[in-house]
Structures are given as C-alpha cells and as structure tokens.
Amino acid sequence: MRIFNFHLMPYTGLPPDYEGPSWVTCPNELYDAELGSKLYNRYLDELVYSEELGFDGVCVNEHHQNSYGIMPSPNLMAAILARQTKRVKIAIVGNALPLYNPPTRVAEEFAMIDNISNGRLIAGFVVGGGPEYYSFSINPAYARERFYEAHDIIIKAWTEPGPTEYMGKHYQLRFLNTWPRPTQKPHPEVWIPGVGSLETMDFVAKHRYAYMGIPYFHIDVFERTFNQFREACERQGYTMDPMQAGWLTPIYVAETDEKARQQYEEHFWYFVKRLLPGINISPPGYTTLRSIENIMKGIGSFVSSVKTWDEVEDGNYAIVGSPATVLEKLERNLERLGTGNLLGLFQLGTLPAAETKNSLELFASEVMPKLRARFGGAEPALAGSKEGA
C-alpha cells in the first residue's frame, strides 16, 4: 500500500461572526495576506516534513475563490515540493481541466513538474467542483464534454509525436506540440477523484487509471462507491488492482483517545461548519441525471448533516484517537474498502501547527509501520498507461 499526506491548505482566519458560505461569494475582504503568508509556508513545511517521516507521497489540489482551501494553483505548490523533496510522489489531485483553455497548459506544467522532480508526479485530472463553475463562469452543461476533450489532448500531447493537431467540439488546436515532455513514460500515473458519478467511474475503469473517493461521507457511502468502481472495472473485463483505488480521510493521532478528541474536535467542526458550506452546490448539467440519482442516495450521509461527535465516530467521517485506535480503525476500513492508497488529511480546519506535527509523528512512528506490515509496504509502481496496466 501507499500512504499520502493530503493537504487542503485551509484558511483559518474567518471571523467568528461570519456565517456565510465559504465558497464562490465568501467576501475576499476577509482574507488577510499576512496570515496567508504564514499559512502557505507552514503548510508547505508540513508536506515537506512528511517525506522525512516516511510517507510515500504528498497531495495537493485545486479550488478557487473560497476559504476552504487557498490553493487555486496546486501546480505552484507542486513545483515548490518538486525542489524541496527528493523521494516522495507528488500527487496533484488534480487540475480542473475544463478551467484551462487551452488544456495544453496542463500538459506543459505537469511535464515541467515531472521533469523537475525526476519522475515523481502523479497527474490528477478533475472536472472541478460545482462551485468552480460559478467562480469561473464556465458553463457546467459542458463540464463533461470539455473534461473528456481536455484529457484526450493532454494524453495525446504526452504520447504522440508532435507537431500534430486536435480538432474537437470545444478545442481546436492546429499545432499540438507540447514542450517539455514528461519524464515518466509513456506518461505519469493518472488519478481521478470522484464523488460517485457513474460516468467518471466508467471512464477511470476504461483507461485503467486510479479512482480516488472524495471524503466527508459516511463509510457506507465509500463502500458503495468502491464497489461500483470495482464493477466498472469488471465491465471492462478485468479485476480492480487495489492501487487503482484511494480512500481520502481526515486522520488525527494523539497519545490517548481522550486527548485526541479534546485537541481535535473544535477544529473539525470549524471545518464542517465554516469551510464546507457552499461546497455541495451542483450547477445544472454538471452531473448527468443517472449520476445525480446515484449521488443523492448518499447526500443524507454527507458530513454536513452530522450533528454529534458520536455520529462522526460511527460513520468514520474522521479517524481520530490513540495510535492503537487509529490503527484499528484504518485497518478495519481499508480491509472493508479494499483500497491500496490511503490519503490522510492530517491538517484540517484550524488544527494548529504543533498538533498537526505531533499527529504526523505519532502516525509515522506508531501506525504507518503496522499498516505496511499488514497491507504491504513497498512503494509499488502503477503504470499510468493503458498498455502498462
């Protein structure tokens, strides 16, 4: 198995009296650049430190115009990490392809990061969150079409000799000839995150990419999602490799269960009550009817509906406790979900630097070795190509 430290880079300074959404219309006057400067550098330190602690990789992601995560360009973060780390995989999960015009930009920047890091990039492609379609005024009715075309352009740019051309409905490129080209051949491993869209699962299964389950749902929803993805792979005529699946979950470790909850809970609720509001906005056409029906089955199990800490524990919305407790919960859920990648959110909401560091250290020394002993510890290679897998 592979273990990643996933950072959202949340904004921690929303005033206590602000009760509005965190997304799209959260007034940017609330942003304090001095605090932002501290946060960026602290968060990068936390990711760099994960390499020292023995993590297999680090993850960054893209969201715009919100206080949930101040990382509109994960590629900038990944570029820094490419220089400041030597060994870990750097997973960008991912670039919201329909927001790049032309999407050759993604092929270029990902190739740069793959070169600088000497082949450590994991290339994540996402449709983008619903709020992004408001923030960028991009038409959500074409989100999927643009995503698929952009994907084809990037893969073509990486794998076919240029100059060539691409003629689609949304993008027409007369001279497709991307410089530089990626270090990893035929191209970096590809990850696609999803919340349960059936089309996405079929797409990932067809290309033998890896599917990352998006967090904040009850563990039962994850189980259903990964079972659906497994079925999508079976429909393509093969059995899902565990490395093709990743479970993203908040994790917090302290010396005892009591201490863990006592230190963590308020920061978790800041995240749920202050940073999530507005994330679920689903613009028209962004999701197909059959997938809306599928996703709605889980909507009552979204963490925003959760009221008490007991519900958090029962639903495994966050894995919190002593090293023994966290190990037991992770083992049980990884067994149940069958995912070969564990993506831990070790910093969440307003969780301060000292607590985050302590949790990372306890996890690395007490939990990680035992997970590896049980689920396999070597860093396995997953081919990102259609041919290779």
């Binding site: 799209v24 379609y133 613009p283 028209p284 009817l289 709605m296 089955k297 509906s305």
Partner: protein, 273 residues
C-alpha cells in the same frame, strides 16, 4: 364559452421528437415557455385557446422533448424553431414568449422578422442592462426563487417550492423523491446551455432589435423581481413598433398567476390589426 381542450402531440424535428401542446381555433399563436418549462396543465393555454389556435412547443431538453444535446446556444434555438414552424405548416403568425421564451422569440424576430405578425414579450430575458441584473436562477433555493416568481406566496406552486426548501434544509434533500426534482434538473440543464454565460442574455441582441417589424407588446409584471423593469423598458424602447403594458399584483410567473387577464390583454392586442 366552454373551456377548450389542449392536446399533446409529438412532432418529429431534425433534432428528434418534440412535444407540442395545441388547442382552440382561429389564428395561430405560438407560446414559448420560460426556463421553468411550463406547458403541462398551464392555465394560460386554454385561456388563449378561447381566442386562438394556440401552439405551445416544449423546447428540446424540457418535458418530453428531445435533442438538447444538439443545442449550444440561441442560434441553434432559432434554427430549431424554423424547422418546427415548417413542420407544423405555420405561416407568419403571432409569437409570444415568457422570460427565456421571450428572449428566444426576440432572437427569432431579429433574424426572421417576416415570420412574425405580432410579437408579445412577457417579462423577457435576453438583454444585459447595467445596474439591473437578472437575479440568479441556477444556484438559489426554491424558496428564494418563489419570492421572485410569485406575488402571492400562497399560490400552490409557490407553496410547493417553500415545501421543497424545508426538505432540502432537513437532511440535504435526501427525502425528496428523485422523480419530483427530475424535471427541474432537466429544465435548468437545458437553460444552462442557452444562458449560463453570458448570463441569460446575448450581448448582440439589443443592437439588433431595430430589425423587428411586427407590432410588439411588452408585458411587465410589476411585482417581478427576477427580471427588473429596465429590461422590459429597453425592449419597448428599442423595438420600432412596441408598447409596454404593466400588470399589477403579479410577479414573474404571470402565466400562472393571472392567466385569464393576460390572455385578454394578448387577444385585444392581436385584434388591433
């Protein structure tokens, strides 16, 4: 006079089968619906059918009409209307549209003015008027929308929208039957293809309104807070032979709130010759 029957027909078009509601007799009038996709059971249709042969097509992507995947904007919409009019054997006739349908009617009328004898635009979208933005229809809650659409919040449809809001607040909407929200999702998806960005307008439309030749009636619901008054005023000012009429005590969905009164105003306007 007895209430006319409104039949639902299927017409094969270039884009696929579309639903058309039709009833009454006399001169034809085409009714183009709003983003709400109103048509089934719409009280305005039998009211208009007292005077006219009323023809209310469902645009592709709304109700049972297919072919929306081939529509990428108002230009495609106009081509679809041309095709549909031909298949219905319609000569020059009166065309009426509400909101999104008003915008569509104006797009048709600027390009093919000879197809339209009388034009009625009720609370029409389609223009950008600085300082008078059309309110958001894509991301607000049903309750927020109801306040703009209905002057009377006890109207059965308004009451239903408030009820929906309650179900969404309690448990993320998981208790709402999918079949109940499906038409709404379909309508909004189709509308997004026409008007997500630029938002519910065509930046070129205003400079083309001079081409419209049909006598035009712009209907403004005084309590419409979705499409602000300057939109109606701009249409009435820029279309050469246009006049603005105000309807008090009704909001955006005048076709649901005051169908009989609206039908009388339309009939009187068309009878003017």
């Amino acid at each position: 006079m007895t209430t006319a029957t409104i039949d639902t027909l299927t017409v094969d078009t270039r884009l696929g089968p579309v639903q058309v509601r039709r009833g009454g007799s006399g001169a034809p009038i085409v009714y183009l619906h709003s983003a709400a996709g109103e048509g089934e059971g719409l009280p305005l249709l039998p009211e208009l059918a007292r005077h006219f042969d009323v023809i209310a097509p469902m645009f592709p992507g709304f109700g049972g009409s297919e072919g929306i995947e081939q529509i990428d904007g108002m230009e495609d919409a106009v081509f679809h209307l041309l095709d549909l009019f031909e298949r219905l054997g319609l000569g020059p006739c009166s065309v009426m549209g509400l909101s999104l349908g008003g915008w569509m009617a104006a797009e048709l009328a600027t390009r093919y003015p000879e197809k339209i004898t009388k034009l009625i635009l009720a609370n029409p979208a389609g223009l950008y008027v600085p300082g008078a933005n059309i309110k958001d229809i894509f991301g607000r809650t049903p309750s927020q929308m109801a306040g703009d659409l209905f002057a009377d919040q006890n109207h059965p449809v308004a009451a239903l929208m408030h009820q929906m809001d309650k179900l969404i607040t309690e448990g993320g909407g998981a208790s709402i039957p999918f079949e109940m929200i499906k038409p709404q999702i379909q309508s909004m998806t189709a509308t997004a293809r026409l008007g997500w960005n630029p938002y519910l307008h065509n930046p070129k439309l205003q400079s083309r309104l001079w081409r419209i030749t049909a006598p035009t009636l712009v209907v403004r619901s005084d309590k419409d807070t979705l499409v602000p008054a300057p939109h109606c005023e701009t249409y009435a000012r820029e279309i050469p032979n246009a006049r603005l009429v105000h309807m008090p005590d009704t909001a955006h969905m005048v076709v649901l709130e005051q169908p009989a009164k609206l039908a009388d105003i339309v009939a009187e306007f068309i009878a003017e010759g």
